[in-house]
């Protein structure tokens, strides 16, 4: 709601709106966020240590 705003071309936004609905996104914002997240996950490296990852699952009754 209070997130940052970026400017994109009107026609591009129109196309994005059309595609977002057809692809099953709940909004154009969700579509564009997904695109950015997907690209960033390819570019960004590193993260939590293996131990940190395992620790977060500790206590989950199902496993």
């Amino acid at each position: 709601m209070f997130g940052a705003k970026i400017k994109i071309d009107k026609d591009l936004l129109k196309r994005a709106k059309k595609f977002a609905e057809a692809a099953g996104y709940s909004s154009t914002e969700e579509f564009i966020t997904h695109l950015i997240e997907r690209e960033l996950s390819r570019l960004e490296q590193g993260g939590d240590s293996d131990e940190e990852v395992k620790k977060r699952l500790r206590g989950l009754g199902y496993i």
Binding site: A23, G24, S27, H34, V53, G61
Partner: protein, 730 residues
């Protein structure tokens, strides 16, 4: 930051002011006004009559005074602003709602009671036996039917479909676990906890400049957001996969997947003089006490110190004194003395951890004296985030949990608060576990009824977990031949599940008493239940059949595929129902090409694993596998497992398989206290759907239908992205 804080305070005040004033009846208004005037007069008198005092007041006190004054001033301005704009906001809301109310004048409140895991077959049997009069009333006057659930039939997946009205391909939750294709390690599927990006280094200290990011991984849009856009408020209590809380019109208390204070899904601690207590599955911490007289000193290990570079955990001292008679032990922590009675949980105890610079991180826990003599054993629940001073947001607005805590007392905030692992590890017994479940349930009922009483012609949703947890841990009592009965009591709690259903019927009855004819009550579950007698290690099967390779010389693998040779592996199972192809270009060491090679491998695995026989028992352990491209559709399909494994009734992914261990056995008995489950073929574990009004349905409803049904009841058209179809109330 400051502006955000102001906005948050403003929203909190606006919510409480409007809800409080609007719900007070006229005679109560007079009483409230008199009470406020008397309180103000008393306060003024106390200030005026206060005798002079002499003390040194340093600059620190001045800062505190100015800081407090500023907060008071800003709060006062916001209160006045909120009250002045209240009529305008009400008018704007009424205009927005007029359009939808014109279309549906016969709908008042919609109340949804989610009873996680309530099994339709048992509910039906108990209704026929006359044990569930309130549910039977709903069946007679309204609707009772089975509710189709998601693939797989797992709570985070199913409740995400409930919220969004979409299939998992659109909401991105496919299991409790997802996996990191770069490391093959498991990840919690619902939320990503980030770190603080920047910090200021000062010697051994590291001052964070900002807050860690908490990113929700559930996508799409919950139906209460759509309701809010049309002026309808929603009170959403403990619906799974709602952490971190998202802003919407109304209030929310987060449910399943909220972590404990140390960032896990619930780590208990046991203090003991024994040396034979082990937590073999690593879900608890065992602290040995020195048997030296009656006073034993130890400490509680809290969260990491975020002000230190080495991130050492913060400790607070703990003292346990062995007593006699009615109070056989006393725990002292943070200046609080808690008397413990054997077998009974203490009240909530507040734990304050000090990282430094005057900061405090608070959690809450309960203690239980397991035994006092000759050995002393004290169990401490996982440290819940304190709802009064939450270290992480567990509600929307953030002050809502604090408000509930002050009004109704401290309550559990942990997503999976009922400590199933403490029972599975034998640290607590069935009696203590049941007491814990019902204590937490009592807190949640009080919160629910408080919210329900404040709900206008809006929506109130509350999910109760007790039905799921008790069935997971007590199902063996319904099945004499269950392997988990070996060496355990089989009689004392034979009626635990029957009693559970009776108690839930009581909850339904108390809810019905508060509703009028225009209100609609929906009682539903996300899945049913079946016994979990045999575990299936799909990874071991994949290894034995040449799809998964171990490092040279290894015959077994440790946790999380420690000894797997990925360069020779084609497929692996992860989570409770997912099977992934080791795809080239997607997984870090993928071996199978996307396209035809992958498609053929999937077809081969479906053919070979569907109908897999447990030769020892002479039964089928896996009914069917589904290609996720056939059962899901949506933009997040690429994050889904490639295949979903449907286990037969009585079977489930084995404990070793779920944690990526590979051994010689494909099938094995499940002897854990966790003896019932639902992570199987979804067709075998449908949920229930009751409603106080009959529905015109020519098919069995699906959990995805609930969201559009609620929208339709308020006259709101189904958004295009939703997959569910609205049920038509008569």
């Amino acid at each position: 930051m400051f502006v955000q804080k102001l906005a948050r305070i403003h929203r909190g005040i606006a919510f409480f002011a409007t809800s409080a004033v609007s719900r007070i009846r006229p005679n109560r208004r007079v009483f409230a006004a008199r009470f406020a005037i008397r309180a103000a007069v008393c306060l003024l008198a106390a200030i005026v009559r206060c005798p002079p005092a002499f003390a040194y007041i340093g600059p620190g006190a001045g800062f505190v005074f100015v800081g407090s004054f500023l907060i008071l001033l800003v709060t006062s301005v916001l209160v006045v602003f909120s009250l002045l704009t209240w009529p305008a906001r009400c008018a704007a809301r009424a205009v927005r709602r007029r359009k939808i109310k014109r279309r549906h004048r016969d709908v008042g409140r919609i109340v949804i009671l989610g009873l996680d895991g309530l099994k339709p077959e048992l509910a039906e049997r108990f209704m026929d036996e006359g044990r569930l009069p309130n549910m039977a009333r709903l069946r007679e006057r309204g609707t009772f039917t089975r509710l189709n659930t998601t693939y797989p039939a797992i709570s985070p997946v199913a409740w995400s479909s409930f919220q969004t009205g979409t299939n998992p391909g659109k909401h991105n939750i496919f299991d409790f676990l997802s996996r990191d294709p770069a490391t093959y390690l498991p990840l919690l599927s619902s939320v990503k906890m980030g770190k603080v990006e920047r910090s200021l280094s000062l010697g051994s200290r590291s001052i964070p400049l900002g807050k860690p990011t908490i990113t929700p991984l559930r996508k799409s849009k919950p139906f209460w957001h759509v309701l809010g856009e049309h002026g309808v408020s929603s009170c959403v209590l403990r619906v799974p996969v709602t952490f971190p809380p998202e802003k919407h019109r109304g209030v929310m208390l987060c449910g399943m997947c909220v972590p404990d204070l140390i960032g896990t899904q619930g780590t208990f601690t046991v203090y003991t003089t024994r040396d034979d207590i082990r937590c073999e599955h690593g879900s608890g911490i065992v602290v040995r006490l020195e048997q030296n007289g009656n006073i034993m000193r130890s400490h509680i290990t809290g969260p990491e110190n975020f002000l230190r570079k080495d991130r050492e955990p913060i400790h607070i001292p703990l003292q346990i004194v062995r007593g006699t008679g009615a109070d056989p032990a006393e725990v002292t922590v943070g200046g609080q003395r808690v008397k413990l009675t054997k077998g009974k949980h203490s009240d909530w105890v507040r734990l304050r951890f000090s990282p430094g610079l005057g900061m405090k991180v608070t959690g809450v826990c309960r203690f239980l004296l397991v035994e006092a003599d000759p050995h002393l054993t004290v169990y401490m629940t996982p440290m819940n985030i304190d709802p009064d001073r939450p270290a992480l947001p567990v509600s929307h607005p953030m002050v809502y949990s604090s408000y509930l805590s002050k009004l109704l007392g401290t309550f559990s905030t942990l997503g999976l608060a009922e400590d199933t692992w403490a029972l599975s590890e034998g640290v607590i017994d069935e009696t203590a576990f049941l007491e814990q479940c019902y204590t937490f349930h009592g807190e949640r009922e009080r919160i629910f009824f408080n919210a329900l009483d404040r709900t206008g012609e809006d929506v109130c949703i509350s999910v109760f977990d007790i039905t799921d947890r008790v069935q997971h841990m007590f199902w063996r009592y319904l099945d004499e031949s269950h392997p988990a009965n070996r060496g355990k009591d089989t009689e004392r709690y034979a009626g635990a599940i029957t009693e559970l259903y009776n108690n839930m019927d009581g909850l339904v009855g108390r809810t019905l008493e508060r509703l009028n004819e225009r209100d609609i009550l929906i009682v539903m579950s996300d899945h049913g239940f079946q016994p979990f007698s045999r575990g299936v290690n799909v990874n071991s099967w994949l290894h034995q059949n040449g799809y998964l390779a171990l490092n040279d010389g290894a015959t077994e693998s440790g946790e999380w595929f420690a000894d797997v040779d990925w360069t020779r592996t084609k497929a692996y199972a992860m989570g409770l129902g997912g099977l992934y192809i080791n795809e080239r270009g997607r997984e870090a060491q993928g071996t199978v090409a996307a396209g035809d090679e992958k498609r053929l491998l999937k077809e081969e695995l479906i053919e070979r694993l569907s109908g897999l026989r447990d030769t020892q028992q002479g039964q089928i352990g896996i009914t069917q596998l589904w290609d996720t491209t056939a059962v899901y559709a949506g933009p997040y399909l690429g994050n889904a497992p490639d295949l979903i494994v449907g286990y037969a009734a009585g079977y489930r992914a084995s404990w070793d398989s779920v944690t990526g261990k590979i051994g010689p056995q494909v099938f094995e008995d499940n002897v854990m206290s966790w003896c019932g489950d639902h992570c199987i073929d979804p067709r075998l574990v449908p949920g229930v759907f009751f409603s106080s009004r009959a529905i015109n349905a020519h098919r069995q409803p699906h959990i995805m239908d609930i969201a559009p049904t609620v929208l339709a009841a308020f006259g709101i058209d189904r958004p295009g992205h939703m997959d569910g179809t609205a049920l038509d109330f008569e």
